[in-house]
C-alpha cells in the first residue's frame, strides 16, 4: 500500500503543473481579452486563402504593386 505515497505525490505534482500552466496563461494576458481571440481564430483560413489567391495572381500576370510584393 505504500505505493499510495508515490501515487499521491505524482497526482499533486500533476496538479501543481496545471496550476503553473494557469499562472503562465494569466501572466501572458490570456484572461485580459476573452473576446478577440475567439474571432481571430476564425480568420486564419481566410488569410491563407487570400494569400494563395494573391500568389496565383502574381504568377499569372506580372502586374504587382509594391504592397503585394511584400507578401
Amino acid at each position: 500500500m505504500s505505493v499510495i505515497y508515490l501515487l499521491i505525490t505524482i497526482s499533486i505534482f500533476v496538479a501543481i503543473a496545471f496550476l503553473i500552466a494557469f499562472f503562465m496563461a494569466v501572466k501572458s494576458g490570456q484572461y485580459d481579452d476573452d473576446y478577440t481571440p475567439s474571432v481571430r481564430m476564425l480568420f486564419d483560413d481566410e488569410t491563407a486563402r487570400t494569400q494563395s489567391r494573391n500568389h496565383k495572381a502574381k504568377s499569372v500576370n506580372q502586374n504587382t504593386t509594391t504592397n503585394s510584393e511584400k507578401e
Binding site: M1, I4, I12, V26, D33, F43, E46, T65, K70
Partner: protein, 798 residues
C-alpha cells in the same frame, strides 16, 4: 448586393451623390477610396465577414502633424528602440469582426508595420512597427484614411500604461487548486471507513491537507485579513471582520485538531469558503473596459497644437507648453485647448462637449473664446490668455471634489448589517463559552470555535456580490453602464433627481425649427434656399436641410457678413438672412431664442426659431418619476425655453437657469446638506463638478465610447426613457438582497444550533457551507432576473 446602401459604410445613398465603382455603389468618394485601397491590396475579404462594416474616412489632414514631434511621440509609445516601437491606439470605430481582421492585417497595407493586435473589449489596437521605416504619423494617417481614426488625447500623453491587476485571477486559481485537492484527499475521512490501511495513512493525508491549505489561507484569503484590519482600525465593522475571524479561527482550530489528533479539521470548508467568496468577488466585477468612468478634460483635449512663432513659422507644441501670449493655429474640427482671444475674422465654435448645446456660437475678431470648444470652419488664429491649467473650464478640476479619491461614498448594505452581525456573533460565542466552561473546559473551547466557524457569513457575503453583479449585467445589456456594483445600492437610496437641461433632457443632435412671421410664397422659399446653399454656417445648413427641395437658381452678389448674416441677389430681389438687426426687424425686442431672420427686398418677413428638441418620452418619464422623486432641472442657458419646459414638466419641478459649472456643484452640495440623496444626470464637461459631487452621477452620452465626463454611470442617450425602470430595478435589487439575508441567517441559525450543542462535525460543516452557498446564489440570481423581467413587462411608464 444592396443598391440602396453604401457598400462600404452601409449608409443610405443620396441619389445625386451615388458613386458606382467596380459594380458596387458608394455614398461618397471617401468610402470608394477605402474600398479601392482594400481591393488593391487584396484585402477585400474585409467585406466578407460583416456587411458594410466600414466608416467613411474623415478629413484629418494636418490634425496629427504633432506626431512628427519626437518628444510627443516618445510619450505615446509603449516601448521604443532603434528598430522596434510599440504603440497602443484607441479606435472608437472598432465594432465588428471585420474591424479586427483589417486592423490585424495592417502590415499588408504599410511597409514597416510588423504586426498588430486588436483588443476588442477595449477597442484598442496594439501596433508593433519599425520606426526607421515608418513613422507614427504615417500609421495614424493610414488608419484615418481607411476609416479607423484613432483617438489620441492629452490623457494618453500624460499617463503611462497602467499594468492590469490580475491578482484576483491568481488568487482564485490558487484557491481552486487547494480546494479541489483537499476535497479529494478528505474523502476517506467523510465516510469514516474503519479500515486498517486508511487509519494507517491518516496522518499522511491530514498533513498533506494542511500543507495544501496553506497557500489558500495565506495568499488567497489575504485580502480579507487586510480589509478586516483596516475596518477595525477605522472602527467600522464591515463584513470582512467576521469572515476573517471565521477563517483564522477555522485554521487554528483545524491545526490544533490534527496536532492532537482530535479530528480531521475544517480545511475542506476553509478552502471552499475562500474559493466561493473569491468567486463572488470576481462575479461582482464587471468592467466595461471600452468605457472610462474617470474622464476629465484631459480625455478631450488634444496632445498638441500648432503654435505660430514670431518668425511666422508653424510648430507643434504640447498643450502644457503653451504660454500666455502665444499665437495658436486652430484647424477645422480641432478643440480649443486654452482660453484666448480670437484674432482671425470670425468663426463658429461648437461648445457641445462643454454645455451640450448643439448649435454653434458665432465669434468675431477680438472675442474671448474658451477652452473646450470645437472650432468649425476655416483655420483660425488665436492669442492665448491663460495656460491650460488656468483656463476657465480646467479650473473646475481644482475643486476639492476631484482631489479626494472617494472609493465609497456610502456604507454598503452588507457592511451595515455586518456591524450588528459581528457583535451578536461574538455575544453568542462568549455566552456559549461561559455556559460550557462550567461543564467541560475542553468542550467550551470546541463550542466557542465551532460557533465562529459556522457563523462565518459566507452566504451573507455572497448575497450582495451575486445580486448586484447580476443586475449590473442586466442593465449593462440595456446600455446603462455602471461603474461598479455599489452604484446600484446608491441608486436605490436616491430621493432627488437633478437634470441638466441642454444635451441631457434635450437631444444633442436634433433641433426643431419653427417659422414665425408672414407666410412666404413658393418663389420666396426657393430664393431663401438658394441663398442658404452658399453659406457654411451651421444654422444655415440646418435651415437648408429643413426647407423643401427646390430647383437651383443662380445667385449673385453673395456676401457673408461676419456676425450678422448673409445676403445675395436672386432673380432680381435682394435676400437678407441673419440677425434681427441685419434683417431690419421692426421693433427691437430682446429675444432669448436662437433665431434667423429673413428680409426680402427690404421687407421684413419673419424669423426661423431654433428650438431644442426634447428627448423622446421625456414627459412620460418625468410624470412617472414625479410620483416618487423630487425633480429639479438645472441649466446653464438663459431662460429662453422656460415656458415650454414648464409645460412639459410636472407641476412643482424646480427650474434653475443661468447656472455656471461651480454653481451647479454648489446646488448639489446644498441639497445634500439638507439631507437629500441626489442623483445628477448630465452630459457636458460643465456638469462634471456636479456629477462628481452628487451621490450618483449619471452621464448621458450619444456616443458612449468617447464622450462622457467622469461619473458613476453612463447611460446611452437612446435609453433615456428607461431611467425610471433602472431606478426601480435598483430598489428591487435591494429587496432581493434583504430576502436573501433572511435566508442566509436561517442557515446560520441551523449551523449555530449544531455548534452551541457541541455537535459540529467537520462533515456537517462541509455539507452546510456549500449547500448554503449554492441556494443563496441561485436564489438571488433567479429573483433578480425575475424582477428585471417583471418590471420590463409592466413597461417603463408605470
Amino acid at each position: 448586393m444592396d443598391t440602396q446602401n453604401c457598400f462600404h459604410c452601409g449608409l443610405d445613398i443620396v441619389k445625386e451623390a451615388e458613386i458606382l465603382f467596380d459594380q458596387k455603389t458608394f455614398c461618397c468618394a471617401g468610402c470608394k477610396t477605402v474600398y479601392e485601397i482594400f481591393s488593391l491590396n487584396d484585402l477585400s475579404c474585409y467585406y466578407d465577414f460583416e456587411k458594410s462594416p466600414g466608416a467613411s474616412p474623415q478629413d484629418i489632414k494636418g490634425k496629427y502633424d504633432f506626431l512628427e514631434n519626437e518628444n510627443i511621440v516618445s510619450k505615446l509609445l509603449e516601448f521604443q528602440e532603434a528598430t522596434t516601437a510599440i504603440v497602443s491606439l484607441s479606435i472608437p470605430h472598432i465594432h465588428c469582426s471585420s474591424c479586427i481582421w483589417i486592423l490585424e492585417n495592417l502590415q499588408r497595407l504599410q511597409k514597416g508595420i510588423s504586426s498588430s493586435q486588436v483588443n476588442f473589449p477595449e477597442k484598442k489596437v496594439r501596433i508593433i512597427y519599425n520606426p526607421a521605416e515608418v513613422s507614427l504619423s504615417t500609421i495614424v494617417y493610414l488608419l484615418g484614411s481607411i476609416g479607423y481614426e484613432p483617438y489620441i488625447s492629452l490623457k494618453n500623453y500624460e499617463t503611462p500604461q497602467t499594468k492590469t491587476d490580475r491578482s484576483l485571477t491568481y488568487k482564485l486559481g490558487v484557491a481552486f487548486f487547494c480546494f479541489g485537492n483537499i476535497m479529494l484527499l478528505s474523502f476517506p475521512e467523510y465516510f469514516e471507513v474503519k479500515e486498517f490501511w486508511l487509519d494507517n495513512y491518516k496522518p499522511f493525508f491530514r498533513w498533506l491537507i494542511f500543507a495544501l491549505s496553506l497557500p489558500s489561507f495565506l495568499y488567497s484569503g489575504s485580502g480579507y485579513y487586510v480589509s478586516a484590519y483596516k475596518s477595525i482600525r477605522s472602527k467600522m465593522l464591515n463584513i470582512d471582520v467576521p469572515i476573517a475571524l471565521g477563517i483564522i479561527v477555522m485554521f487554528i482550530r483545524s491545526v490544533v485538531d490534527i496536532i492532537f489528533d482530535y479530528g480531521s479539521g475544517f480545511f475542506d470548508s476553509l478552502t471552499g469558503l475562500i474559493f466561493f467568496m473569491l468567486l463572488g468577488k470576481m462575479f461582482q466585477i464587471k468592467t466595461y473596459s471600452f468605457l472610462s468612468f474617470e474622464r476629465d478634460f484631459k480625455s478631450y483635449f488634444p496632445v498638441a497644437v500648432t503654435r505660430i512663432n514670431a518668425d511666422s513659422s508653424e510648430e507643434s507644441v504640447p498643450v502644457y507648453d503653451i504660454q500666455k501670449g502665444d499665437r495658436l493655429l486652430i484647424r477645422n474640427q480641432e478643440l480649443i485647448p486654452v482660453d484666448g482671444i480670437l484674432i482671425s475674422d470670425n468663426t463658429a465654435i461648437d461648445y457641445s462637449f462643454v454645455t451640450g448645446e448643439a448649435i454653434p456660437i458665432n465669434k468675431k475678431s477680438g472675442d474671448k473664446i474658451f477652452a473646450g470648444g470645437k472650432q468649425l470652419g476655416k483655420v483660425i488664429e488665436m492669442e492665448v490668455l491663460f495656460s491650460v491649467s488656468q483656463s476657465y473650464l480646467t479650473q473646475l478640476w481644482s475643486n476639492d471634489v476631484f482631489q479626494k479619491k472617494v472609493t465609497q461614498k456610502h456604507k454598503s448594505i452588507t457592511d451595515a448589517i455586518s456591524r450588528y452581525f459581528t457583535v451578536v456573533l461574538l455575544l453568542i460565542a462568549f455566552a456559549a463559552f461561559g455556559y460550557w466552561i462550567f461543564i467541560d473546559i475542553n468542550k467550551a473551547f470546541n463550542v466557542f470555535t465551532a460557533i465562529l466557524i459556522v457563523a462565518c457569513p459566507c452566504a451573507l457575503a455572497l448575497t450582495a456580490p451575486f445580486t448586484l453583479g447580476n443586475i449590473l449585467r442586466i442593465v449593462g445589456k440595456q446600455k446603462f453602464y455602471l461603474k461598479n456594483a455599489l452604484v446600484i445600492e446608491q441608486l436605490a437610496k436616491v430621493d432627488t433627481l437633478v437634470f441638466d437641461k441642454t444635451g441631457t433632457i434635450t437631444s444633442n443632435a436634433a433641433s426643431n425649427i419653427f417659422y414665425e412671421g408672414k407666410p412666404f410664397t413658393e418663389a420666396n422659399l426657393v430664393r431663401i434656399k438658394s441663398v442658404l446653399r452658399g453659406s457654411n454656417h451651421p444654422l444655415s445648413r440646418m435651415l437648408y436641410d429643413m426647407l423643401p427641395e427646390a430647383g437651383k437658381i443662380t445667385i449673385s452678389e453673395f456676401e457673408e457678413i461676419t456676425g450678422k448674416g448673409i445676403q445675395a441677389r436672386v432673380v432680381g430681389s435682394l435676400v437678407k438672412i441673419g440677425s434681427a438687426a441685419f434683417a431690419g426687424m421692426p421693433e427691437e425686442q430682446q429675444s432669448l431664442q436662437t433665431s434667423v431672420h429673413i428680409q426680402i427686398d427690404g421687407v421684413y418677413f419673419g424669423k426661423y426659431i431654433f428650438k431644442n428638441q426634447y428627448r423622446d418620452g421625456l414627459e412620460l418619464l418625468f410624470k412617472s418619476l414625479h410620483k416618487e422623486y423630487q425633480i429639479k432641472v438645472l441649466s446653464g442657458d438663459n431662460e429662453g425655453g422656460k415656458t415650454a419646459l414648464k409645460k412639459l414638466l410636472p407641476a412643482g419641478t424646480e427650474l434653475v437657469f443661468n447656472q455656471k459649472p461651480e454653481q451647479k456643484l454648489e446646488f448639489i452640495k446644498q441639497l445634500q446638506d439638507s439631507g437629500k440623496n441626489v442623483m445628477m444626470v448630465g452630459d457636458g464637461l460643465n456638469d462634471a463638478g456636479a456629477l462628481a459631487q452628487s451621490d450618483v452621477g449619471v452621464s448621458i452620452s450619444e456616443n458612449v465610447n468617447v464622450f462622457s465626463p467622469a461619473c458613476d454611470a453612463i447611460l446611452e442617450a437612446g435609453q433615456f426613457q428607461k431611467l425610471h425602470y433602472f431606478l426601480k430595478l435598483s430598489k428591487k435589487a435591494m429587496k432581493v438582497i434583504k430576502m436573501s439575508f433572511g435566508l442566509s441567517l436561517l442557515y446560520n441559525v441551523v449551523g449555530l444550533s449544531f455548534a452551541i450543542t457541541g455537535h459540529l462535525d467537520p462533515l456537517i460543516a462541509a455539507i452546510l457551507m456549500p449547500l448554503s452557498t449554492i441556494t443563496i446564489v441561485s436564489f438571488v440570481t433567479l429573483m433578480s432576473n425575475y424582477y428585471a423581467k417583471k418590471l420590463e413587462v409592466r413597461g417603463y411608464e408605470l
